[in-house]
Amino acid sequence: MSEISDSPQPAGGTKIPVKIVVAGGFGVGKSTFVNTVSEIEPLRSEATMTTASAEHDDLSHIAAKTTTTVAMDFGRVALTPEIVLYLFGTPGQQRFQFMWNELSRGAIGAVILADTRRLGDCFAAVDYFEARNMPFVIGINPFDGRRTHTIEAIREAVQVEDHVPMLYCDARERGDVKNGLIALVELALMRERSKTHA
């Protein structure tokens, strides 16, 4: 485990932080993805959201609020001497959307991981980033490394448009993770350029 004292960095160097969200269903490999490229031991952080829940209040007048705690894993890697990339693995369930809002603010975009055995788990994330017009790519994390379906077949199953990059992305493989990140940044750059030239 990382201790507080284990990260001596060059003093005085302020870096430009950029971030990429790694989304997807429970257990799809988000933390593994982050771990594969992070240069620090991935850290876990928690955010809490308190919501009034009057409708669930019938049995007890004491518990008038529910607190949702969401844990997310994150890692970081220096891309250049000036730029540091933060990767956030975030839970995919709809009820954690308050966290997605926070995470996606200022993000380059998202790598949405999907598992061919449970493709439906990625729909919430796809809908979310599509609705906000944020760049995203879909990485198919092959269970046990077996690439049993063609990307075309998976694309048809998930019903995402052709312009959304989709690729096999074994979260344990550095090369695959890197390719996923490259695909996302290329997409974001392409969209940014078309914006400025429009």
Partner: protein
Amino acid sequence: MIEEAEVGVDEIDADADAETGRLIRPYAMTGGRTTIDTDIGLETQIQASSRASQHLGAYRWETAKVVELVQTPMALIEVAARMEIPIGVARVLVADLVLDGAVVLHEPAKTQNFASLLERVLDGVRNL
């Protein structure tokens, strides 16, 4: 009234510290505040300023710990994780330090040409 409440919190801190050092409820650190005007992004880099040492003696342990952590720049979320406190609590502690001038924030460059930043990011990712 407010002063009394703060004394109470300090007493809780001291008692918890004496026993295990980790029994303090996170929100006691911030006097119960979890929202503030300052909107610090998760990846915003926090760095101790040259004035930090002037204040250090007056800070409670958790605030002093933040200052210690950010002697070299560190993202808000990393401060929260390393201190094992919720992000909202870390945000309040850091915001107070900003008001004191003890830390400075380095926000993601918003004015910079985003396309040129992305080009550099792309080069960096390719070289991973």
